[in-house]
């Protein structure tokens, strides 16, 4: 009887995690086109949502391998239980929402890994975690990703500004639509699958699905819809950080940064050296800020982002560990876990209402449209129709 409840909870939380993954990562693809005015904010998130939806149906390779590595399984290892997955998901969701509230573009994959690691450490001890895999697969790439993308972005920004003249550079806006769409599609094929993998893993652990099989069709559909809905809701705070706060982006820079992001992500997924999309995208924006003469990078913001990356795994891990500890008290522990998680989600949501950031933040007046100057105090309304 218990297993029903737990699996249902895991599926629900996994889908919610997928949703937060979507709105956390809208910024990777769409922050620069929104910042330069290449796409209107609502149009940009709609394109990203559709491409994520389509992308989710294109591949299930990542989902099939999600449980491999990192957590030792099989002989001499441990069996990850649905309860530990539940605790890990709570850690990932809470951390994703906290970083969203602070406008930090942190990696959703790292939050998920962190949460699961924390839960597994409490459930099975440190021996269950393969430390060398953690360093090789997560920590070193986390340093290399932004540096690589930043350098490439710096280089291509120089090329773009070297070739074109000032009056031609508005043309880059058209190009931005294509490059950012590519990033969105690539994101959809990767990220929705992490959730599919988690749900499938749980179904297998519960004994409802054969070991070694891929995600069921309803799982694929549900994950695709969840990530698309999340993407469409737009993580406006993070879009603001990447698009506005790091550096002021011109269309040529936007195009250069997106080209660098796309190239780095595609090369890394196809040459077997996985890099985080979020870190690549942030690195690209910093690189293009350094690359344009007269542009300045706000290194304080960049530093905050880097700090966010650094603590993502431990922080999500800590929440996951606490959740796993509480879940250790049996059914009532699990119920308490979920209640606490929902309370945390609500609290973060209510806190976010205090300083609202939404698509209106990015309103760019159409060029040529007359902007009415502010009326001075005491000035008479002469000749003005109502």
């Amino acid at each position: 009887m218990d297993i029903w409840l737990i699996v249902a909870l895991v599926v629900a939380l996994a889908l919610f995690f997928d949703f937060t993954n979507g709105f956390h990562d809208t910024a990777n693809a769409m922050a620069t086109p929104i910042a330069t005015g290449a796409l209107k904010p609502k149009v940009a998130v709609a394109i990203a949502a559709i491409l994520n939806l389509v992308g989710a149906f294109l591949s299930t390779e990542v989902a099939k391998t999600i449980s491999g590595g990192l957590i030792r399984e099989g002989d001499g290892g441990i069996q990850i239980t649905p309860v530990l997955v539940l605790a890990g998901l709570i850690g990932a969701i809470v951390w994703n929402l906290v970083t969203w509230l602070m406008g930090l573009p942190s990696s959703s994959s790292h939050a998920l890994f962190g949460g699961l690691i924390g839960a597994v450490v409490v459930g099975a001890g440190f021996g269950a975690i393969d430390g060398s895999v953690l360093v090789a697969k997560i920590l070193i790439p986390a340093v290399l990703a932004p540096v690589t993308a930043g350098l490439i972005s710096f280089l291509v920004t120089k090329i773009a500004y070297g070739i074109t003249k000032k009056r031609e550079r508005d043309g880059f806006k058209k190009g931005q639509i294509f490059t950012s769409s590519l990033v969105s599609l690539a994101h959809g094929t990767n990220d929705a699958q992490k959730t599919m993998g988690v749900i499938t893993l749980t179904l297998i652990a519960a004994g409802w699905q054969d070991t070694g099989t891929g995600p069921a069709f309803w799982v694929i559909c549900a994950c695709a819809i969840a990530i698309a809905a999340g993407t469409y809701s737009g993580g406006w705070r993070i879009i603001k950080t990447i698009g506005r706060d790091i550096t002021d982006i011109e269309p040529a820079q936007g195009f250069a940064a997106e080209a660098a992001t796309t190239a780095t992500i595609l090369a890394s997924t196809h040459l077997g050296f996985a890099l985080s999309t979020t870190q690549v995208a942030s690195g690209s924006v910093i690189g293009t800020g350094v690359g344009r003469k007269g542009a300045s990078v706000r290194w304080k913001t960049a530093g905050r982002i880097a700090l966010g990356w650094l603590i993502t795994i431990p922080a999500a891990g800590l929440v996951g560990a606490i959740a796993a500890f509480i879940a250790g008290f049996g059914l009532w522990g699990i119920v308490l876990d979920v209640v606490l998680a929902v309370a945390a989600i609500l609290a973060i949501f209510l806190r976010s209402r205090r300083n609202l950031v939404d698509h209106r933040t990015f309103h760019v007046p159409e060029p040529g449209v007359f902007v009415r100057p502010k009326r001075r105090k005491g000035q008479k309304r002469t000749g003005e129709r109502r």
Partner: protein, 70 residues
């Protein structure tokens, strides 16, 4: 543990492809700016090349296009 060679491959591939895309698009913009008759067709041709680079990107993203049989 770290496969530095595959990392180097990633860097080289990214630099070449991003550099190619940006060079093509920038040149297309540069060439398209002016009245001479030869400019327009050349500019369009460069945009088409950009389109091919993007199409290659889609080809890489969609597994059904390149991963059949595996």
């Amino acid at each position: 543990m770290i496969n530095w060679w595959s990392f180097a491959e990633v860097v080289i591939a990214s630099v070449v492809s991003a550099g190619l895309l940006v060079t093509l698009f920038s040149t297309a913009l540069r060439v398209g700016d002016g009245d001479a008759r030869w400019r327009r067709p050349l500019s369009v041709a460069l945009y088409v090349l950009c389109g091919l680079v993007v199409a290659f990107g889609i080809y890489l993203i969609v597994p059904a296009l390149h991963a059949f049989g595996t």
